[in-house]
Each structure stands twice: as C-alpha cells, then as structure tokens.
C-alpha cells in the first residue's frame, strides 16, 4: 500500500515539474528567438512578467521528486546514484547556470545576447538530459555485476529509443510552453504575442504527436513487456490523443485559449500516467521493483503524513501566487508597476 501511495505522490510531482518546467524552459527559448528576430516587445515582456515570480518554484518540484524518491524507495539512491554520476552532473550544471543567471539577469544582463543564448540553449538541453533518466529506467542501459553498477554509455547513445525520448522531450517542451504563452498573451491583451505563440503551438504540435507515436514503435523493440502493458490500456493513450486534438483545434480557432491549455495538460497527464502505470512494478527494469525496495512502514507513514500536512500549506499558497500573478489581468497587462 505504501509503495503505491509513494509512487503516486512522486509521479504527480514529476508531472507537475513536467508542465511547469516545460513552460519555463520553452519560454527561455522563445525569449532568445524573439531577441534574435527583433520581436522583443511582443513576447518578451509577457514571458518576463510570467516567469519573474515563479522561476524559483519550478526548481522545487524537481528537488521534491528526488528527495521523495529516496525517502520512499531508498535503494534507488544506490542504483541511480551510482549509474547517473555523469548525466546527473551535466543536468545539474545546466540547471545551476540557468537558475542563477535568471536572477542575475534581473539586474541588467537581460539584453545581453550571450546570456539569452545560454538561457535559451540550456532550456532545451536540460529536458534532454533529464529525460535520459526515464530512458534508463526501461532497462538495458545499466550493468549490475557483483554490486558494481555501471551506465552503458555506448548503448545509450546508439539506441533509437533513447533518441526518440530526447526528441519528444524537446518538442513537448516547446509545445507546452507555446500553448501556455498563447493563453497568457491573450489574457494580457497582447495581440502580436498571441499570434506568434499560436503559430508556434501549431508548428510544434506535429512533431510532438509524431514522436509520441515513435515512442511506442521503438519501445516495442526495446522493452516488449512494457509495450504490451501499454497496449492493454490503449484507451488512456486515445484519450491523450483526443485531448491533443481538442487543444490544437481550439488554439487554431483562437478560441478559449485557457481551456486549450488545460487540454494540453490533460494530453500529457493521460500519456504520462499511462506510461508510469504500465512501468510498474519496476523502478528500474529489471533490477528494482517498488515492492522490494520500499522504505519501512514507520517511515512510509511519516512521509505520507508530512506530505498531507505540506499540501495543506502549499495548495493555498500556490493558489495565492496564481491569483496575484497569473489570473490577475492588471498584473498580466503590466499595469501595476512593482519591484
């Protein structure tokens, strides 16, 4: 029981990170694009106004996931920790550059091309490097011999599956971000930004859905067991596709952009939870399952209680944050000068 509660909680947080970080990472890329093509006054203000109060919260979702993972499933620290030293470090350094430079940029560096280049580029590299963890969890990329855990870099770099995951991560980031910024720009009453972001949403929708299909194809060769489990609940992935079509058609018609973004969230929720559910019971195929490696009942219960207490604090605070900045038309339009 604890193992299921634990993994569900963690998966929800990873999903939260997926959506929130995608908006952030994609926004960095669009910000860079806007500067390069001299469209800065259309979308960059909208992006900055959204990102400024929330950039720090994004990071927390990720930290939450991996601290929770170690709390609920301590053995993951041993396997993933040993194997992921190199990719983990690369992702960390990129995250560090990105996070701190966002704050530095508040004080003058924002117009610097090199800074924006770094900011835009890391926004695409981070999802790529983080998504390799999901690839590795499918098995076949780690050797365990006599307690010695090693990452097989050669296999990882030549696998069609791992490249499909990376491409899906990047296109999803650009798609999710564009669909959110379409909504936010419209809310801010910025017609130009709205049109531009609408165009981007439509451009990236195609590759996103293409790579989602390719995931199925390549996974079939890589991990047939998982592929069959996914086929058994294919209705979930059909719902995901329907949500995608609804979102894209709304954005195409320039109608109800807020609802469209919610459908984008549904699209990824169905796909992500469907994928996660069929991945069970493995945390790392075939070495780790949730049953054998769950923490002691005492710790499990303590963590769940802490989690509930934490949510009671977080949900109202997050609601306040959203009310003050995202759903506040005056703020979105930049009418209230602050800071």
């Amino acid at each position: 029981m604890i193992e299921y509660i634990g993994i569900t909680v963690l998966w929800i947080f990873l999903y939260g990170y997926l959506i929130i970080a995608s908006i952030d990472f994609g926004a960095g890329f669009y910000s860079f694009y806007a500067k390069m093509t001299d469209k800065k006054h259309t979308i960059r203000q909208v992006i900055d106004r959204y990102l400024s109060p929330v950039w720090e919260v994004t990071n927390v979702f990720l930290v939450f996931f991996f601290v929770g993972l170690i709390g609920f499933f301590p053995a993951t620290a041993y396997y993933y920790g040993t194997a992921l030293l190199v990719p983990g470090t690369v992702a960390l350094i990129l995250l560090a550059i990105r996070g701190s430079f966002y704050a530095f940029a508040n004080y003058g560096a924002r117009e610097n091309n090199f800074y924006l280049f770094l900011y835009g580029l890391t926004g695409l590299f981070i999802p790529a490097s983080l998504s390799t963890v999901l690839t590795i969890s499918e098995g076949g990329f780690i050797s365990v011999e006599g307690g010695d855990v090693k990452l097989l870099m050669g296999e990882l770099f030549t696998s069609p599956y791992s490249w499909t995951v990376v491409l899906l991560a990047i296109t999803s980031v650009l798609f999710i971000s564009a669909s959110f910024l379409t909504f936010y720009a419209k809310r801010a009453g910025d017609r130009d930004a709205h049109e531009l972001m609408r165009k981007f949403t439509l451009i990236w929708s195609g590759p996103t859905i293409l790579f989602s299909f390719l995931i199925f194809v390549t996974l079939r060769n890589h991990n047939a067991e998982h592929f069959n489990a996914m086929l058994e609940i294919r209705w979930i992935f059909l719902f995901s596709l329907l949500s995608f079509l609804t979102a894209v058609s709304l954005i195409y018609k320039r109608k109800r952009t807020g609802i469209a973004f919610i459908f984008v969230c549904f699209q990824f929720a169905f796909a992500f939870f469907g994928y996660g559910y069929t991945h069970l019971p493995y945390l790392l195929y075939p070495h780790l399952t949730i049953y054998e490696n769950v923490t002691s009942p005492e710790m499990g219960i303590a963590l769940i209680m802490a989690f509930i207490a934490g949510l009671m604090l977080l949900i109202p605070s997050l609601f306040l944050l959203l009310r003050l900045f995202i759903f506040n038309v005056e703020y979105a339009r930049g009418e209230k000068k602050t800071y």
């Binding site: 400024s52 109060p53 950039w55 720090e56 919260v57 990071n59 927390v60 990720l62 930290v63 939450f64 991996f66 601290v67 929770g68 170690i70 709390g71 609920f72 301590p74 053995a75 620290a77 041993y78 993933y80 920790g81 040993t82 992921l84 030293l85 190199v86 470090t89 960390l92 995250l95 560090a96 550059i97 996070g99 701190s100 430079f101 966002y102 704050a103 530095f104 004080y107 003058g108 560096a109 923490t295 002691s296 005492e298 710790m299 303590a302 963590l303 802490a306 934490g310 604090l313 977080l314 605070s317 997050l318 306040l320 944050l321 003050l324 900045f325 209230k336 000068k337 602050t338 800071y339």
Partner: protein
C-alpha cells in the same frame, strides 16, 4: 598528481560544494529576518528609511537566494551521486526531515516571489509586511530540518542495527536525535549573527567612505543591536554544545582540545602548535576551563584521545578550526556589544563617551562581516572533519558510503569551474546593483527626500 581515489575526490567535491553553498545559505537564512525587522521598524516608526532598507536588502537577497537554490539543488543531488550507500541508509532513517526541508523551501519560494513583486500593490503596508513572515519561517524551518539530518549523522538515533542493517526505524526519534537541540539552535543563531554582521559591514563601509547619511547610521544601529543579541545567544548555545560533545561525542571534543589523557580538572588549550609526537607547544592553557565547559564543575572527568582506537580518531588539526571559530565568536560579541553601549545614553553607561561612528570602530565592524563568514566556515569544517572517519557516527564510515564511479575527478573540475563563475558573477552583480543605484538616488526617486537634502 595522486592516484585516483573516488572516496578522496568525493570528499573534496562535497566539501567544496557545501562550503560554497553555506556562504549563500547562511545569508539566505538570516536575511529574511533582518528584512522583516527593517520593514517592521519602517511601519512602526513611520520611517521610510527603514522601509527602503528592507527593500534594498530584499533586492540583494534575490541574488543570494538564486545561488543558494542552485547550489542547494546541487548538493541535494550530489549526495545521491557521490554517496549512494549513505543515501540508501539515510532514506530509511532520515527521509522525513529531508522531505520536510523541501516543503519549507517550497513555502519560502512561493512567498518570496509574492513578496518581491507586490511592494507597491497593497494599500496597507502591513499586508505587504505579513508576506515576509512565511519567508522568514520557511528559511529558518529549512535550516532546522536539514540540520537535524546532520545531527543524525553525528548522533545516530532511533533505529536498531542488526547485522549492519538499519531496522526498526523511528523517524521522529531519528529527527530529534540528541544533537538536534544544540546543533539546530547553534546553526540558526549563527546564521542570524553572520547576516547581521555582513549587513552591518556594508553600512560601516559606506560611512567609512565618507557618506554621512542618516540612512546608513540607522542601518548600522539596527544590525548591531540585533547582532549583539545574536552574539550573546551564540555564546550561551556554544557552552551547551560543549556539554553535548562531552556527553555524546567525547572524541570530537578531545580532538578539538588536544586532550590526550582522561582527567578531571582538565585545562582548556587556546592556540598553540602540535608537534609530531603530540606535544602541545606555545599554547595558552586555562586551568579547569575544559572541565567547566564539559560538565559545569572543575571536577568533571573529561575523556582523552588515548581512550579511542587510533583508526577512529578525527585528524587533530581540527583544534585550529575550533579556535578560529571561538575567537571569531568572541570578536563579534565584543564589537557589537561595544557599539551598542557607545550609543546607549544611560548615565551609568561607562563607555557612552566613546564615538561608535569613529573610523576605528567602523573598521572593526566592516571587518566583522567577512570574519563572521570565516567563522561559519571554520565551524562547519570543525563539525564535519571532527567526526571523521564516520559518515554516520559509529555506523558507517565515509569510505563505505562513497560511490565506486570512475568519473568523480572530472565532476570535481566541472563543479569547481561552475562555482568560480557563480561566485565571481554574484559578486559583480551585487556590487553593481548597489553602486549604480546608490541609496541617495533612490531616496530622491521615491520621493522620500528632496535633492541635496
């Protein structure tokens, strides 16, 4: 250079990451409180100088928080990457405080975002002030939770060890281990103390540089009064920490004091040099003081280093770290109390005739900022090196916990470059932020003062 050894490289990388992180984390814990006090004073005294002080500190605080967050994320992940065996054990025992720390951090992050972008949004100043309270609570709570983890590593508690496996874990007992009360209070109060001194150093520096503005004087006065309170509290807690070490980690206390023979009426060793055959030279010995520190009476028997097997002893140079920490604590106490007394106009006050704003005094305060940070660093180095060779005291050694990966050396180089860039950039950004927009300009711009006032 030397042979590749993942344990050694992991230790160096962890030490570099942590000592870089605590520069920002210390200020990150202390600054919200100082900002809150300044904003409160601004409201209560209806004095816009204090409000502006809070505002300017908050702006600098953002840069500190940003680097604190990214280096904190780094250490969080590095623990699993470099010490996988430790984290596996820790997940079973101290997953709870680790988890709670992230909650506290989450809470702080949300309200910090709100606080920073709502300065002029509410009609009531009080409403905006209330937003800083969760930031203060979040910052201090995350220090609390993460320090309990460190406390556990020093005095592991709340589990049974069966054939080398930690079982029968009680998460709350592990969290509230014997080290928790002294360690947590010491860490939190010294974060406040160090931050107060760093902010005081800025004001003192400005005054030394010839600015005679009342704004800087108010800033200096406020930081020194709070600094004196924190310094006195630090001294009191330091005394309790000595008693804690005596009871639970006698080898650490003995190593800090070069105390070899078990005796009562043990002297306290200040300064000095240790020769190769463990003779203490050039030291100042205060008779009975170690027994008093450890147990409150001169008769208290203090266990010496000779009682422990040699392979379980920490390196003896920790004495120097301990001395640096204690001397700096004393220095900060003296400077802040002296400044407060000089400005306290009571007829029984013997030193009110001295000028607290004299150049010498300002120098002493300005030096106090960096010195306080040095004290924090040497305190942590003492605490961490003092429990070598253990990562979990008496349960798991550092070498058992380390990764077996072959790439730690490259990671060490990469992270060192990263920290160098972050350190230099944050210094430049902070300096430019305050230099390009001096308070005199901001006072005029916000309509608090007229030109040339």
């Amino acid at each position: 250079m030397f042979e590749y050894d993942p344990v050694l490289y992991s230790r160096i990388l962890t030490a570099i990451t942590l000592s870089f992180h605590i520069i920002f984390a210390t200020v990150g814990v202390g600054a919200p409180l100082m900002i809150a006090i300044a904003e409160w004073m601004g409201i209560k005294r209806n004095d816009p100088h204090y409000t502006l002080l809070a505002r300017r500190w908050a702006r600098g605080f953002v840069v500190v928080v940003a680097v604190g967050v990214v280096t904190g994320t780094a250490i969080g992940l590095q623990l699993s990457l470099l010490w996988p065996n430790f984290m596996q054990a820790a997940g079973h025992t101290i997953g709870l405080p680790l988890f709670m720390e992230v909650f506290a951090f989450f809470f702080e992050a949300i309200f910090l975002g709100i606080y920073l972008y709502t300065w002029d949004r509410f009609k009531s100043k009080m409403k905006h002030f209330l937003l800083v309270i969760p930031v203060v609570i979040g910052a201090t709570a995350s220090a609390f939770f993460i320090t309990t983890v460190n406390g556990f590593m020093n005095t592991p508690y709340g589990f049974d060890l069966v054939d080398g496996v930690l079982t029968n874990v009680s998460p709350l007992q592990a969290m509230f281990n014997p080290a928790t009360p002294t360690k947590v209070s010491h860490v939190i109060i010294t974060c406040y103390l160090t931050t107060a001194f760093i902010l005081a150093a800025i004001a003192a520096f400005k005054l030394m540089r010839g600015s005679n503005h009342i704004y800087h004087k108010k800033a200096l006065h406020m930081t020194m009064v709070t600094g004196a309170v924190f310094a006195i509290a630090t001294a009191a807690i330091g005394d309790l920490s000595g008693k804690f070490l005596h009871e639970y980690q006698p080898e650490k206390l003995a190593a800090a004091e070069w105390h070899f023979e078990t005796t009562s009426e043990a002297p306290l060793v200040l300064g000095g040099v240790l020769t190769e055959d463990n003779e203490v030279n050039y030291a100042l010995e205060i008779p009975y003081a170690l027994s008093i520190l450890a147990g409150g009476t001169t008769g208290e028997e203090v266990i010496g280093l000779n009682e422990f097997p040699e392979e379980e002893l920490p390196p003896l140079f920790v004495h120097y770290l301990f001395d640096i920490m204690v001397f700096i604590g004393m220095y900060l106490l003296l400077v802040s109390v002296a400044f407060v007394l000089m400005n306290w106009h009571n007829r029984f006050n013997p030193i009110k005739r001295f000028n607290g704003f004299s150049n010498k005094m300002l120098w002493a305060i300005a030096a106090g900022g960096p010195i306080a940070m040095l004290g924090t660093q040497s305190g942590w180095f003492f605490a961490e090196i003092g429990r070598q060779p253990w990562i979990i005291n008496g349960v798991m050694t550092v070498s058992e916990a380390a990764t077996s990966s072959q790439h730690v050396d490259i990671m060490l180089v990469l992270f060192s470059i990263l920290y160098a860039i972050l350190g230099v950039t944050s210094f430049i950004v902070l300096r430019r932020m305050f230099k390009h927009y001096p308070v005199e300009h901001e006072l005029v711009e916000r309509g608090i003062e007229r030109e040339g006032a």
